[in-house]
Symmetry: C2
Subunit: 406 residues, 2 copies
């Protein structure tokens, strides 16, 4: 009887669902705003204060009484932003004021400086204004109590600015997943060293570390484990001690030296060991000590595509992101495409807009070792099983990896 894998081929949705069910939310920590970029908020935030907290001048100019009809007014002094004066505006008078300064008592409007002509201690007013003119009322930008950001929001520049604007110096966020990254294989050599016969350079540890960082995790490359059960088991347990998840590449297909699955079985539970997809069929997912372990294939493209489909969602969920799904678009093939007739295939493509339509062009030879096929790709085409041939003009689903446009 031919050799066959003891692992059932599971479908992609089942695999993702299983992974998400075993990727626990990490603890909450407090970070300063300077360290908050890209972090995910762990609690709803409402505004503790009004912004502005006082009626403020929206422009540089003069604080006046709107109903006052005097063309020339006496300038009583200056009210500057951040300084509190003791000036009160009365009919026939005005107070010079700078943007952001509190409106002095008595005044109910600001006339912008461009509509005035200063004359010594007096100012000539060009035109009448309504009460409230160029005054930012209390809470105009943000009202005290207003909901600002929901738990699960990823903090970008605007969100961080909002927290600062209401006086919050710290934000409660989920911890970033600390991800140990282990390459396996006796044939792997460090870049920068000379290759011996039979050796190749390890690339997955570097590409996966970058992918982990892009997904908001803290990558910790822990080296290359050689192909021995003892070495692998030891490396695995050591990595788990200090990290929230473990990412391996290589060592999961069917050879005699693909030792990883038995070791995972020995120390924990293997949830699946093969997925009905291309590339990425040998993707294996296990938990050991309650922590997720992603054993990715060794071919560089297989490793990155399966990272994108399975690991990134888990890492985003672990750090509290509820909207981790990549956007999907329907796109039109710019040319004929051959694909796998039996497994869903993820092909790398460049999506562009032409005459209001999304067109997809392949990035070339899609071999699972050919990393060049990922360069210039802004999407993965999801090609379901079928005849194995799609004609130019066919509409397929694409998983967007970055913004597209002209």
């Amino acid at each position: 009887m031919p050799v066959s894998s003891p692992y059932r081929l599971v479908d992609i949705d089942h695999a993702l669902h299983t992974i998400l069910a075993h990727s626990p939310l990490l603890p909450v920590e407090s970070v300063s705003l300077a360290a908050a970029l890209g972090r995910v908020l762990a609690a709803d935030v409402a505004a503790p204060v009004n912004v502005p907290p006082f009626p403020a001048a929206a422009k540089d100019g003069y604080a006046v009484i709107a109903a006052d009809t005097s063309r020339r007014r006496q300038v009583l002094g200056e009210q500057m932003a951040g300084r509190v004066g003791d000036l009160t505006v009365v009919p026939g008078a005005a107070v010079q004021i700078t943007t952001g300064a509190a409106i002095p008592p008595g005044a109910d409007a600001v006339i912008m400086v461009e509509q005035t002509t200063p004359q010594g201690d007096w100012v000539e007013i060009e035109s009448a204004v309504a009460a409230g003119n160029e005054i930012r009322p209390v809470g105009e930008d943000i009202a005290a109590g207003e909901a600002l950001l929901p738990a699960g929001a990823t903090l970008g520049p605007a969100e961080i600015g909002l927290l600062a604007a209401v006086g919050l110096a710290q934000a409660p966020v989920y911890r970033r997943p600390r991800v140990a990254i282990l390459s396996t294989g006796d044939e792997l050599r460090e870049p920068g060293e000379a290759l011996l016969p039979g050796q190749i350079y390890d690339s997955n540890r570097f590409s996966l570390a970058a992918a982990v960082a892009q997904a908001g995790g803290a990558p910790a490359p822990v080296g290359i484990a050689i192909d021995s059960s003892a070495a692998l088991g030891q490396a695995l347990l050591a990595a788990l001690a200090d990290h929230d998840a473990l990412l391996t590449s290589g060592g999961v297909s069917m050879g005699k030296l693909d030792l990883l699955k038995p070791i995972l079985e020995a120390h924990g539970q293997v949830h699946f060991g093969r997925v009905m997809m291309k590339p990425g069929k040998p993707v294996t997912f296990a938990t050991v000590q309650g922590k997720p372990i992603f054993a990715l294939p060794g071919f560089p493209v297989s490793a990155l595509v399966s990272f994108e489909l399975f690991v990134r969602p888990a890492l985003r969920q672990m750090q509290g992101d509820r909207g981790w799904r990549r956007p999907r678009l329907q796109v039109t093939l710019a040319h004929d495409l051959e694909h796998d007739a039996h497994r869903t295939e993820y092909q790398r493509a460049a999506i562009y807009v032409e005459a209001g339509r999304f067109l997809a062009r392949s990035t070339g030879h899609q071999g699972s070792g050919r990393l060049l096929s990922m360069v210039g790709a802004n999407a993965l085409l999801e090609l379901p099983p079928g005849s194995g041939h799609l004609s130019a003009g066919s509409v397929v689903s694409a998983l967007l990896l970055q913004a597209i446009g002209d």
Copy 2:
């Protein structure tokens, strides 16, 4: 005569062109692959080696002679990845081989393990294969001398993996711009402190630092400068000594205390002091000691929008990115929109796909202090001067800030 600005209103394209002409490319440095994510390559990279460097097994199985017709073959031993054996395949024989291992002398094909039945020291072969079957020829993934990445490429996971795969441990990249960030204004208070009357919290320093980091720069918040010429001038010169660019917010409109422009004039050259746009009209650009200084308005939305339009392109260009432009799309308004009739207005919007069209929905009240209008926005609508009213269904241009989809 009414007070007016001495600075000519320039148009947006002129402003951007001027900025780019004064944003010099930074020096080149070498970084390790672990530190290369997001950096911009400073030289074309061609492959110094073939990948794979030897004919390699694409699958686990048996190395055989394709023309051999024996159904049962004697297994001479194992050829494992990374190890060099002394086995030679002869007719009637096979060598067990693992994925990635060098094909032993004599063999010209690999039969995958799933098509075999092992029987002690023998293996039964299910079906014949052609020469070259499951063998990855030398240079299949990357051919020595092949162009891999051009200067100007931004290094993501795949690009970093490519460099590693050909043995390069370091990459030549442009230095990240070190950007000093200074807030100005006596009214500004640090988040976490208590507000005194007339004070508000500084938010720009935090939002702009995050925006600089997102643009690939190294932000260095250098504090709040109070509204005095001496303090501002000193802060400016100190910041320039250690940084490649300076970003200020506030202090550029027309009030008596808007001191920044005269100080910039005194120490260098102000290239423009007002731009025909909304928000962001007071945006000022100067060079001092050959370094770019961006003096942004103080209102939080004005600061972030003008960062996006003017500072991000400069920072990307300084670090060698030739493709720094945000993608633009034509989008359809989902509802009526009021906008500025005289200046191009940038309104924050959420773009989504519906029935194959891009629709744009405003993020609400567009006040230049209202940071909430940037939350949930994935695009800036570019609304040219006109009637000031656009009806639902109108098609406008949108600058994409992130990927969009369903």
